[in-house]
């Protein structure tokens, strides 16, 4: 069964700016960040089709979540399609597809997981 979740945000910035923020190291760390003291985000991104964006994040080195994203489509600034494996600290994992789309003129960011 696909877990079909869809989120939308209207962002007050040009689509190119939103896309670039999502694909630059600072924006990517921000995306997975939290304000909690000591929160860890280790992000390494090879931004190309077939490239891997790997993340380890969590409240402590003993409790880390891992996301391994493989870029399937990169179409600046409209769309990114990612095949993803998420692994939790307990070792459980699942696969999902993530899609990032930006539409003009309403600057709507749609993020879906299936």
């Amino acid at each position: 069964m696909s877990l079909d979740l869809r989120f939308e945000r209207l962002i007050a910035a040009a689509p190119e700016r939103v896309f670039d923020a999502f694909t630059d190291p600072v924006g990517q760390r921000e995306f997975y960040g939290q304000d909690a003291a000591g929160w860890i985000v280790d992000s390494r991104c090879d931004l190309r089709v077939g490239g891997v964006w790997s993340l380890s994040f969590g409240p402590s080195p003993d409790e880390l979540y891992h996301h391994r994203h493989v870029f399937e489509v990169i179409d600046r600034p409209r769309r990114i399609l990612i095949a993803s494996i998420e692994t939790r600290p307990d070792g459980s994992s699942f696969e999902t597809t993530l899609e990032f789309t930006l539409s003009r003129p309403r600057r709507r960011l749609t993020w879906s997981t299936t």
Partner: protein, 111 residues
Amino acid sequence: MQYRSTLDGTFFALSDPTRRGILERLGGGPATISELATPFGLTINGVKKHVGILERADLVVTEKVGRARHCRLGSGSLAEATAWIEGHREAWESRLDRFERYVERTSGGGG
């Protein structure tokens, strides 16, 4: 992992509209296999197959009474699946909120 295999079974069981219909029907009270077959236009064997998948996911419990097999809702897995989905949804909402604030903060509100 047990956690994963339980949820995989639950999600797989819920992926079929007939099985969701069977759960809905059992939400109104227990039924036999043959009572489930009629409204869904299924053969007895067809219902048994669906009920077997639901049973392995602990969504349905069956019991042989005389010559009939009685089915009723099982325990707990739906709540676990719902909690998992909700946690997943909250995590993405939180990331997108944070990302939105970051982009707007660093773009001077323009664009």
